[in-house]
C-alpha cells in the first residue's frame, strides 16, 4: 500500500480486554474523496474512527497521516490536518453557538489574522446552516441544531488549505444520527463539497442509502474485518447486505445516478415473536 498523501490505517488491530474489535483492518482515505464506513452495531466502526483520529493507539499495525506515522505528529500538527465530529458532542459552561464554532480556530491561533478567523467562523456557520443561532446559548439549541453547530466547528477548523499543501481530513462519526431528512442530506452534501474541494472525508454512517448517494467509496465493516469495499454499486450488493446485516433486501438502482438503493423487506417473522413461540 502506498504511503502518499492520505489518512491510512495499515493492518490495524484493536482489542478491549478479550474482545477483539478490529482485526488487521486496512483502510485509506485519499484527499478529494468521501469514504463511508458502514456496518452493523459492534462491527468496530467507531473504534476505527478513534484510531484514525488518534484517540486510541492500535495494538498492532499503524496509522499514517500525510506520509508520516500519526504518532509522529504532535497534537497541534494533527489539529491542522484533521478535524473530528464526535457522535454526541457536549460542552461544559454556557458558551454561545458562535463561541463553539470559534473553538475550531484553536489550532490556527497565531497563524491566521483576526479577519481570517472571523471569515472562517462565519463561513462555517453559514455552511452548516447555523448562522442564525450565533448569539444563542448553545444549551438552548435542539439536539440537531447543536450537532450542526459542532459540524460548523469542524468546518472552521479545516476552513482554509494549509500553506504547505498538506491534505486535510474530516472524520465524521454518525453525523446524520440526530438530524431531520433535510439536514441529513444537507450535511452530507456539504461533506461531499469539502471532498470536492480537496479534503479527504470519512463518515461513519448507518443509513446505507445515504452512504450510497454521497460516498465515492464504501467500506463495509463486519465483526472487526472489512467485508466489502469499493464504489457503492460494488460494495452494496444484495449478498453483502443480506449476509452482513442479516436482513432480506432488494437492491434497486437510482434512476438519476445509477447508485444502488437498498430496500429492506419486512421481516416475515419478528425475531422476538419467533423466540417466544419457540419457548
Amino acid at each position: 500500500m502506498t504511503a502518499g498523501h492520505g489518512l491510512c490505517a495499515h493492518e490495524v488491530s484493536f482489542a478491549a480486554g478479550d474482545k477483539r474489535i478490529l482485526d488487521r483492518v486496512s483502510v485509506c482515505v485519499e484527499p478529494g474523496e468521501l469514504v463511508a464506513v458502514v456496518g452493523p452495531n459492534g462491527a468496530g466502526k467507531s473504534t476505527l474512527l478513534k484510531l484514525l483520529a488518534g484517540d486510541l493507539a492500535p495494538q498492532a499495525g499503524e496509522i499514517v497521516l500525510n506520509a508520516k506515522p500519526l504518532r509522529g505528529w504532535n497534537a497541534a500538527e494533527r489539529a491542522l490536518q484533521r478535524a473530528v465530529l464526535p457522535q454526541s458532542p457536549s460542552l461544559a459552561f454556557a458558551f454561545r453557538a458562535w463561541d463553539v464554532v470559534e473553538l475550531g480556530r484553536h489550532p490556527h491561533q497565531g497563524r491566521a489574522s483576526a479577519t481570517e478567523h472571523h471569515d472562517a467562523v462565519h463561513g462555517a456557520m453559514d455552511a452548516a446552516d447555523v448562522a442564525r443561532f450565533a448569539a444563542r446559548d448553545w444549551r438552548s439549541l435542539s439536539g440537531g441544531e447543536a450537532h450542526r453547530t459542532h459540524f460548523a466547528r469542524a468546518l472552521a477548523q479545516l476552513w482554509a488549505p494549509l500553506a504547505d499543501g498538506r491534505a486535510r481530513f474530516l472524520l465524521l462519526d454518525e453525523p446524520t444520527a440526530s438530524l431531520d431528512l433535510f439536514h441529513q442530506h444537507a450535511i452530507l452534501a456539504r461533506a461531499y463539497g469539502i471532498a470536492e474541494a480537496g479534503a479527504g472525508v470519512l463518515a461513519v454512517l448507518h443509513d446505507l442509502n445515504l452512504a450510497s448517494a454521497y460516498a465515492d467509496r464504501i467500506i463495509v465493516l463486519s465483526e472487526g474485518c472489512v467485508a466489502a469495499e469499493g464504489t457503492p454499486s460494488a460494495a452494496l450488493t444484495g449478498d453483502v447486505v443480506t449476509k452482513v446485516w442479516r436482513v432480506p433486501c432488494e437492491i434497486a438502482s437510482d434512476a438519476a445516478t445509477g447508485r444502488p438503493v437498498v430496500a429492506v423487506r419486512r421481516a416475515t417473522t419478528p425475531p422476538f415473536a419467533a423466540r417466544l413461540a419457540a419457548e
Binding site: N74, P86, F93, F95, D99, H106, H122, A131, R139
Partner: protein
Amino acid sequence: MNAVGGAVSLLATDRLAARRRGILLGLGTCAVLAALIALGTGAVAISPLQVIAILLAQFGIDAGVLVVPQQDAVLMSVRLPRVLLSLAVGAVLGIGGAALQALFRNPLADPGLVGVSGGAACGAVAWIVVGGMAANWSLGAWGLPLAAFVGGFAAALGVYAVARSEGRVDVAMLLLAGLAMNALTGAILGYLIYLGDEQQVRALTFWLLGSLGGATWGTILPALVFIAVALVSLAPLARAFDALALGEAEAGHLGVPVEGLKRWTVAGVTLGVGAATALTGIIGFVGLMAPHLVRLIGGPAHRFVLPASALLGAALVTLADTGARMAVVPAELPIGVVTSAIGAPFFFWLLRARMRDRGWR
C-alpha cells in the same frame, strides 16, 4: 438571511467583547477600592486621600495632605502587607478555582477539591503540634508556611498519582481521589488536634479557620513570589481551557496537549493555593464563588473568566478580611468564618439553580 444573521452575530460578538473589557475594568476598580477601604479601616482611621499620600510619599512625592506619623507607621508596617497578602491570596484562590473548574469541566470544583487545602492544613498542624511550638517563634514563622506548602504539594501529588493510569489522568478519578484525600487529611487533623495541648488547639483552630493576621513584610514576600508564579503560569491557559470545555478527546482533536495541560494546571494551582493556605489557613468558597459570579455577568470564555476571577477574588478576600477585623473589635474573627458565612448559602443557591437548569436542558 444568512448575511443578516452574520451581521447580527458580529455585532453581538463586538458588544460582548466591549462588555467584558468594561467588567474587567470595573472589577479592577473594585479591587483598588477594596484595598483603599481596607488600608483606611481600623483602630487608627486613615482617609483614602491620606492613604494615597502616604503611598506616594514612599516614592518621594509630596501630595500635600496632612498625615500623622502614627498613621504612616500603621499603614506601612501593619496594614499594607496585610492588604497585599489579601489581594494576592484572593487573586490566586479566584484564578485557581476557575482553572480547576475548567479542568474538571464542572462549575462546582474548588481548590479544596484536589486535596491542596487539606494537605496544607495537615502540614501546618503537624508543625504546630509536633515541633513548632517547642521551637522559638522566628523559626515557627518560617516553618509553618513551609510545612503547609509541603503538605499541600504531597496531597496533590498523591491524588494525582492515584488518578493517573496508563499515562492519563481521569477527571472523575481525580475528583474521587480528592474526596478520599480530604477524608484522610481530616482524620490526620483530628488526631493531631487530639494530641495537642490547650494552647496548641487554640492556635490550630484559628489557623484552620483562616486568618491574615500573621502578615508582615517578612512572611508575605515568599508567598507573593509563589503566587505571582502561579498567576503567570495559569493565565496563558485560557484558550486551552475553552477547548477543554468540549471534552478531553475533543480538546485533543483541536491540538491541545491535554495531559500536559492537566499536569501544568494542578501544579500551578498547588503552588499558588498551597503558598496562600500556608500563610492564611483555609479560606473557603472564594475559589467557588468568584469564577461563578464572573461567568454569570460576562460569559464563560476563559480569557475573561481567569483575570476576572482573580480580580473579584482579590476584592472579596480584602473586603472579607476588613469585615473580619472590624466585626468584633478589638478582637478579630477568623476570615474563613466570614467567607463561609457568605459562601455556604451561595453554594446552596448554586445547587438549586443547577437543578432547575437540568430540568430545562
